[in-house]
């Protein structure tokens, strides 16, 4: 490994790499944010929906969870353009990751809500809370604590999956790195570097998750 050369090239390519990292962050934050919103709706539909709605949403989640993310990305990019919806590579990629994220979050939310004992809802009802109130003050606070660790895990999965957007030409961090490699031929060094950066991003997410988890833990 040639470190002097690597650092010199790293410095030269710094703006390209930072832009790539910026795209990765944007893609991940966007997909996790949208995917969580959609996922909560999916989870609520799976838990409280009319049977027909539950059935449809169940197919949606099972289908998405059973499909490789890679295939989802290609489908969003190529198939949608065939039916006349023209998305940029970036938009198609974020859409794919959002759908992927929503199916996982939906399942997590459903699991967390159904794990709360029926007695909680009944106690909430018995003091006169409406369904909406008991959801907001009794069920959701408990479900959120339950959801947090798995949700953080999903977020790190999305960061990793965002690398797949390089295939459809989105210059996120991995593709930016590969472009640098094609100029410098320092493939080992730069791939190693990329690996460390992804690790640090996910490590930071996990630590932040743990921190919040500790802050909101219920004393016992």
């Amino acid at each position: 490994m040639n470190f002097t050369l690597f650092f010199a090239d790293l410095w030269t390519a710094r703006m390209n790499l930072l832009n790539g990292l910026g795209q990765t962050v944007l893609i991940s934050v966007g997909s996790v944010f949208l995917g969580t919103l959609l996922g909560v709706a999916v989870g609520l539909a799976l838990t409280y929906g009319h049977w027909l709605l539950r059935f449809v949403v169940r197919i949606y989640t099972d289908f998405l969870r059973g499909t490789p993310v890679f295939v989802l990305i290609l489908a969003c990019f190529y198939i949608l353009s065939v039916v006349g919806i023209d998305l940029s590579a970036f938009e198609a990629g974020v859409l794919a990751l959002t759908l992927f994220c929503s199916s996982h979050v939906g399942e997590i939310v459903r699991g967390a809500l159904s794990a709360i004992s029926k007695g909680q809802t009944e106690a909430a009802k018995s003091i006169g809370l409406t369904f909406r109130q008991s959801f907001v003050y009794v069920l959701m606070p408990q479900a959120l604590r339950q959801i947090l660790p798995t949700w953080v895990n999903t977020a790190t999965e999305i960061v990793k999956a965002s690398t797949l957007l390089s295939i459809i030409g989105v210059v996120e961090f991995l593709l930016a790195t590969q472009q640098v490699i094609s100029r410098t031929y320092l493939s080992l060094e730069f791939y190693l570097f990329a690996g460390v950066v992804y690790f640090l991003v996910n490590f930071a997410i996990e630590q932040a998750g743990r921190f919040v988890e500790r802050r909101i833990a219920i004393p016992n």
Binding site: G119, Q120, I127, T130, P141, P219, N220
Partner: protein
């Protein structure tokens, strides 16, 4: 005397199983009625119908003269809208075998929730009401503890405070002590006794026969979804008329 509860011809089924086969029961203000009977006779179901936690197919339940749960349009019987049901549920206070405290809230938070959200009381008022009820059940020093930090008996006392702080017309107790270790039973029964002595109207489901005899103004014996016998505790326990009740008492512990 004011009538607090009037149940007329209450029927309830779970699928093919008819669990309540026509219950009639009235309670006046200040009555303490114990509901006894063997397992599966439908005691819990009666309480859950009064608290509208279960639907029922036939009959009426009135609390303070108001028919609860359903409205009659001519011959049609319709369940009331959610908002009405929620309001009517708050007319009765209920405690559960498994306490069902909200684990993410302190004892004080548990008692305050209904005062704040159902009764829309200002925070300071809710807090002072909650604190005085926690004091009353002997939990003042633990008000900032979470349910996970409390013993079963302490949790049940908080649950009683949570229900009664709503100032219900009628308190429903479903086997308040059956999930407790023997040494914790006394402290909880003492709280219930204290409330009874204070004139609270209460319907108590219990397997503690001695307690039922001491605390009740009337005892009701249920068997297979029907009321078989009712009367003052001394009569019911001293001279049971039906064979069913005789048999039940012979099998019960005192």
């Amino acid at each position: 005397m004011t009538q607090v509860l009037k149940i007329t011809d209450l029927h309830k089924r779970f699928g093919d199983l008819e669990v309540l086969k026509g219950i009639d029961l009235t309670m006046q203000k200040g009555d303490v009625v114990s509901l006894i009977g063997s397992s599966g006779s439908g005691k819990t179901t009666v309480l859950r119908c009064i608290n509208l936690l279960e639907d029922f197919e036939r009959g009426t339940v009135e609390i303070a003269g108001e028919a609860i749960g359903y409205r009659h349009d001519g011959r049609k019987r319709r369940r009331l809208p959610e908002r009405q049901i929620a309001r009517q549920r708050a007319m009765t206070g209920m405690t559960f075998q498994q306490f069902n405290l909200f684990p993410h809230m302190t004892a004080l938070g548990n008692v305050m929730l209904g005062l704040l959200k159902t009764q829309k009381k200002p925070k300071e008022e809710a807090r002072s009401i909650a604190e005085s009820w926690l004091e009353r059940v002997g939990m003042a020093s633990r008000k900032d503890h979470y349910p996970g930090q409390l013993s079963g008996g302490q949790q049940q006392r908080v649950a009683i405070a949570r229900a009664i702080a709503m100032n219900p017309q009628l308190m429903l107790f479903d086997e308040v002590t059956s999930a407790l270790d023997p040494e914790l039973v006394t402290e909880v029964l003492a709280v219930v006794r204290d409330l009874a002595a204070d004139g609270m109207t209460m319907l108590i489901v219990t397997h503690e026969m001695r307690f039922a005899r001491d605390v009740s103004s009337r005892v009701v014996f249920m068997h297979e979804g029907r009321i078989h016998e009712e009367g003052p505790p001394d009569e019911l326990f001293g001279a049971p008329k039906t064979e069913r009740l005789q048999g039940f008492l012979a099998r019960s512990e005192f």
